[in-house]
């Protein structure tokens, strides 16, 4: 088999657990099978293992809890931060807040986005294991697109190509622009989400759990940020809403921040010992009897 073929097989085999990866690549080398057969064998095993992962509740919790619940709430925060940054620093709308108040608001939102993204990414990686490539991709698309997609579906935003004024999917160029907008992180808020969420997932897949002091720290920071952002948004809303609008009541403002903080609550719950973790139950203890 050609060198590139082996490289490709070794790369794909990374989807398997390290001991099994070694065994399977060894079996393929020993069998002397051609590239096509070896690839078919390897992909067959990877598909079976990936399907097997979904027999557990953990990836499902990652899918509905992190991608769904936390992802939708994070998406609203990313969208809100983008809109507020645009209004203040691109369109220069007057918000009736002092520069110091605005800076505090943006720092609070940005800090919260960083911490919530890391925590969600960590829990996603911890729950998904080797299915993380799928759950993380979905999480990314939900966070980047769900908030504005809701506005598009409600008819509050109409998508048009700024140059040709065509609908985005009317031409190849428009379709490509639309796909790029939906897949690439092109705003500050998207980047504030992307890097911590990626790093969190990477750590989560590797270590699965945090040390107890770190868990308490993450939990405390999440609670503090939920309260701070609730306070800051309340302080911001009445100032830029038309006169006579009372602004959103604090429990309503707190709710999305609580939803986005549930991964921290999950981490805290995991510090209570509830039996062995699946990672400790290796398929065999890989020692000669």
């Amino acid at each position: 088999m050609m060198q590139f073929g082996w490289w490709l097989l070794s790369f794909l085999a990374r989807a398997l657990e390290p001991p099994e990866r070694d065994v399977v690549l060894g079996d393929l080398a020993e069998s002397g099978a051609g590239f096509g057969l070896a690839m078919g064998d390897l992909l067959g095993l990877i598909v079976r293992r990936q399907v097997g992962l979904w027999m557990s509740w953990r990836p499902w919790l990652a899918l509905f809890g992190v991608c769904g619940l936390a992802g939708l709430s994070l998406s609203r925060i990313v969208f809100r931060l983008n809109v507020d940054l645009y209004k203040r620093y691109a369109a220069h709308y007057a918000t009736d807040l002092t520069d110091r108040q605005e800076l505090a608001f943006f720092l609070c939102m940005a800090g919260a986005l960083l911490v919530w993204s890391w925590t969600s990414g960590f829990v996603l990686g911890s729950l998904s294991g080797r299915a993380v490539w799928l759950t993380w991709s979905l999480f990314y698309f939900v966070v980047l697109n769900s908030a504005w997609a809701r506005f598009v579906l409600d008819g509050n935003i109409i998508l048009r190509n700024p140059l040709t004024h065509e609908a985005p999917l009317d031409s190849l160029q428009g379709t490509l622009r639309f796909l790029m907008a939906a897949t690439l992180p092109r705003t500050i808020a998207a980047l504030l989400f992307l890097f911590p969420a990626l790093f969190g997932a990477f750590v989560g897949v590797r270590s699965r759990t945090l040390a107890v002091p770190h868990t308490y720290l993450i939990g405390s920071v999440n609670v503090a940020l939920a309260l701070l952002t609730t306070w800051a948004t309340g302080w911001y809303d009445p100032a830029h809403l038309p006169a006579g609008w009372p602004g959103v009541p604090w429990p309503v403002r707190l709710l999305p921040f609580l939803l986005v903080s549930w991964p921290a609550a999950y981490l805290l719950a995991c510090t209570i010992p509830m039996g062995s973790h699946p990672k400790d139950q290796t398929r065999s203890d890989m020692r000669e009897p």
């Binding site: 099994e20 399977v24 060894g26 079996d27 390897l42 079976r48």
Partner: protein, 109 residues
């Protein structure tokens, strides 16, 4: 009761004895059935048998022929032997008086 492929795997592993590992078992199954055995089917079945306590597996030494990679060695447990014997007995009983089984028995004698 074992499945057909589980029985084939247990038989191949038992026949190989101390030399039973993934690739050798696969060759054994392919030789017996004259059909291709996929790595996916082999290792997922092996995991299932191990979860049922019918085989035990561990990592063996790497060999140059495998590019220095380890083998997954397999040993059939006592419970595995019992289950395989029960399956074989059931198939033998079910085959009594059946045309293809009696023809085969005559051919062998």
């Amino acid at each position: 009761m074992l499945g057909e492929f589980e029985y084939l795997l247990l038989s191949a592993a038992a026949r190989l004895g101390d030399g039973a590992y993934g690739a050798a078992i696969r060759r054994g199954i392919e030789g017996a059935t004259k059909r291709r055995c996929s790595i996916g089917a082999l290792y997922t079945t092996l995991d299932r048998l191990e979860a049922k306590g019918l085989v035990r597996s561990w990592m063996g030494d790497p060999t140059p022929q495998r590019g220095g990679r380890q083998k997954r060695m397999v040993r059939v447990t006592g419970k595995g032997v019992q289950e395989a014997k029960a399956f074989y007995d059931a198939v033998s009983r079910a085959s009594q008086g059946v045309g293809w089984a009696t023809d085969r028995a005559r051919g062998l004698s």
